[in-house]
Symmetry: C2
Subunit: 357 residues, 2 copies
Amino acid sequence: MTALPRQPGFSPPIPTAAPDRPRTVALDVMGGDRAPAVALRAAAAISRDTDIALLLVGDAARLEAEFARLAPDPERIRWLHAPDAVAMGESPREAVARSSSSLALAAEAVAEGRADALVSAGNTGALLLHSARAIPRLPGVRRAALAAVYPTLPRPHNPDPFALLLDVGANLQCTAADLLQFAAMGAAYAARISKVAQPSVGLLNIGEESGKGDPLLREAHAALASAPGIAFHGNVEGRGVPLGAVDVVVCPGVMGNVVLKLLESMGEVLLAMGDAVYRERLRWRAGRFLLRDGVARVSNLLDYASYGGAPILGFERIVIKAHGRSGERALENAIKVAAKAVRDDVCGAIAAQLRGL
Amino acid sequence: MTALPRQPGFSPPIPTAAPDRPRTVALDVMGGDRAPAVALRAAAAISRDTDIALLLVGDAARLEAEFARLAPDPERIRWLHAPDAVAMGESPREAVARSSSSLALAAEAVAEGRADALVSAGNTGALLLHSARAIPRLPGVRRAALAAVYPTLPRPHNPDPFALLLDVGANLQCTAADLLQFAAMGAAYAARISKVAQPSVGLLNIGEESGKGDPLLREAHAALASAPGIAFHGNVEGRGVPLGAVDVVVCPGVMGNVVLKLLESMGEVLLAMGDAVYRERLRWRAGRFLLRDGVARVSNLLDYASYGGAPILGFERIVIKAHGRSGERALENAIKVAAKAVRDDVCGAIAAQLRGL
């Protein structure tokens, strides 16, 4: 198998999926904290419950018999044997040197059109590097971005409870031009996935006024304010992220990563603080007991491992990073989001949005 | 009145307060969302309940009679008339050009030794600029840093429920040397105020491993790891901030500002999410009702406007920025923290820690 060249300008465009054939999602069976068990169960359920076709990439020799016992629909399943796997804690640079891992082979399969999208709950850095090596970027894309989907307080104009934050760690050093592209890619993704015609975009900054921030943020603000086709809301402060000030929050990768991990901890922190206090009085203990499944519901809302996954935007194919802690349902959701993104031609929408810049 | 020169090398050191005279805190009466009413009430209470002397800086001509009706202890109060005030939303650069504002005169009074510390709930940028103009930096300090005090989950080795995060917006562009100084200043402050012998210091980053982050963070990590006298815990991820991974979190100012404002919104967001869910079932509504004052207690724990204030570290005098939304008790707390910091010679401790680098 030969990888496609990395520079988009030198590779023939990959045709987007024809509307009449089933969408195939390549699933890295070996990635995730609970691999391969969770991936196999999610794949079996998807094959039974949806019309999504799956290319399972992993140690087929060892896993095919185990998988068959989960009663999948065999019509929708193909296997691609990968003798090797990337460990969760492995250095991405070392991992990318090995071409026989499930991640490497899955990325190649997607690049070659044997699948339409790639889903992995595995090593984030290795997924990024393997995707970047195998799958061409969309025309004009400087850098692919890792976006996170997170819950906000209700936004009046957008029924989707989730907003998008990017970049969350794929790009540690960014220029204003990068941030502008992140905004365009995020807006195109949100428009197709959340079905909001003009998603609002905010730039994460230290204040809402336009002159705020360091030179990078001031330059990015100016670029965003004059960019055609982007509904730029202006600067957004830290509190605007969970409050749902905008549909798409743009920031450099170090900032986004720190913010995402802070958001992820919110439920846990508040639960622990509350329970330390509620122990003090009998009435509070009673109230907490009555609320037990209500609190669990809120915790689920805030459990980042329980839904979708983080799209990696900028490649000619959809790539979704599911949370390493993903359970079966989360991985199913990630696969469904990937199939939906293929069906709705999110890559085409991103390319169109970038052409309009 | 003449301002002292700004470069610490050119000004005579200000003697630290002699232990036998009462500590005087200069209070900018005109700063804060509810100025001057809240400041006057806080000042009256402090004069009655503590041995702290106050220099009230503001429109004495207009306010002295009003203040007298609040029954302060006149022995502990002096007034410094300021005909002018900095507005909360005013551009700091414009504000600093006016020398007759309460902020300008309060900073000068502190620089000249007529007060030992400065407290203001006013315009943060103007407080920073006026302090920097009037009060010399401690020897070797490159840049003063704005630190935020925030609540964490319990840290086993530290009984103080609060940890320190700096810089939170005074320094938008930082070098590794700046971050190292922030660590030293924050550790010295935490050691004196929290009474922990060796506060642990963490560098906010995208992962815990030492090679993580952009070149700035990698360089800062190396500098911190080899710095004498600093108990460097290593990198801290976003979730480590509220979880209390360390006593002092160090980061560049844009990051710290975003993180602080996100932390400040946590209680509000979780309360709103919970209440949207708890409405759905009668049992949950009952539980929520029983918990009503317990929830209020947790909200208070998370109300950043209700406690202390943000110390500005690196000057030869203590400067405390109280939250703009500070109520009377919060401002009282800020004044007490300022007096405690003077009594415990926090500036001397910071200078000693910096000498040891």
